[in-house]
Symmetry: C2
Subunit: 243 residues, 2 copies
């Protein structure tokens, strides 16, 4: 059976890949992915055939990967973070029906909610919601509804895709919704370029977060009502009684 692997490469640095992801890529002949992600790992996997496509060409990228696998070449489609969280696993499985001779295997990776959290402290130690602010494929009303529900039920919240050139004010709009239910002093944090050269993180209050300009390489964390700052780290306690 021809094999197509969907591999989450983690935040970006080689060290944060799982051993299984590394070994899978080592075994493959062809590695397909978005240009930026391929560039992150390329030097660690010499002698591979790399095929890159630009952003917004996800369906084409999947078909290229399947075609390569269909030719009998062991192929990997790579995603940043985890392949199953806003990654390519879903689309690959949806398109897979068209390629009955290719068997798909999914390989997990550390998604930005996890790697970003580790940079900031422990912001999502308890129940949390993950919401993408991109309205490319999701109506903004649906996103608003989820923000509202998550804030009302006191979830910690992790926001993916908090901004882009066309959506410069989306984080502000999201904060305004969260501020209806969460205290303005709720600890928040952002993680930027996790696992990459310009990695950075900062802490804010929810009120301050509203006025921060972020980009698409930023992951945003909003605490719950118990979240606090301890020694410069954002910590959402699980509820242990420390004596």
């Amino acid at each position: 059976m021809n094999k197509l692997y969907v591999v989450g490469i983690g935040p970006g640095n080689y060290e944060e890949m799982t051993l299984r992801a590394i070994r899978t890529l080592e075994e493959c002949q062809v590695i397909v992915g978005y240009t930026v992600y391929v560039d992150l790992i390329k030097s660690h996997f010499p002698d591979k055939e790399f095929i890159t496509t630009s952003m917004r060409q996800e369906i084409e990228r999947c078909r290229i990967a399947f075609s390569q696998a269909d030719l009998g070449k062991k192929t990997a489609m790579i995603c940043s973070g985890d392949s199953g969280i806003y990654g390519m696993s879903g689309l690959i499985l949806e398109i897979g029906a068209e390629y009955p001779k290719v068997s798909v295997e999914l390989v997990s990776g550390v998604t930005a909610a996890l790697s970003g959290a580790a940079l900031l402290g422990a912001p999502i130690m308890h129940d949390f919601a993950v919401i993408s602010l991109s309205d490319l494929m999701t109506p903004w009303e649906q996103i608003e509804k989820r923000l509202e529900a998550a804030a009302k039920a006191d979830f910690s919240i992790c926001l993916y895709n908090p901004s882009s050139k066309k959506r410069a004010d989306y984080l502000r709009r999201a904060c305004d919704i969260l501020l209806k239910y969460k205290n303005k002093d709720t600890p928040c944090g952002i993680a930027i370029n996790i696992g990459r050269r310009e990695e950075d993180s900062s802490l804010y209050t929810l009120e301050m977060l509203r006025d921060i300009q972020v980009d698409m390489f930023t992951t945003v964390f909003v605490g719950n009502s118990a979240t606090k700052i301890i020694n410069g780290k954002m910590v959402t306690p699980r509820g242990y009684k420390i004596k």
Copy 2:
């Protein structure tokens, strides 16, 4: 500065650890953890000093880890999955103030929401909520409120700690709440003993899930209104228009 690492070891098998987690454990002299997790990795790290404590001794476990680090021994506290998701990062940072000479570093791992999702397909490809059904430290009313909010706003949901001996009917109680807002045919899945010898997964409808008996090594996934079963896999589409 004395070093204490909090390391997520992933679902259980060595291959699903990140390279950073492996290298960190290799560099440490002492590895502290819950007995079950230590047993999972022990054979891969010979010549280490292992210190285990049983369940519900989390605070004591943290103090043991800090004491070891305080003696100048490079120490790792291990957690299954990710250290920052229902793991030990939070408690370590809370207790850390008592040990000013120890510097804490957090190392991410693949949490069960990710590894379980990969077993089942792509159930949490879009916005999702992670909720623990354990009411040891969280009032059940708060858990109910979060289940209700997540269902109402059409999140995919991942449930941790869905059951234990004392809480045999909690998954049923949770399903009854979700059924108020989600269709009874909503695709659901469970992942059992992920990355371990008896790894298994099964698909259900939400109505069927209500009557399933699960244990504490099970992670439960509930789809959103768009989730479907494709070739035996649970897939929550992101919204790509496939032509």
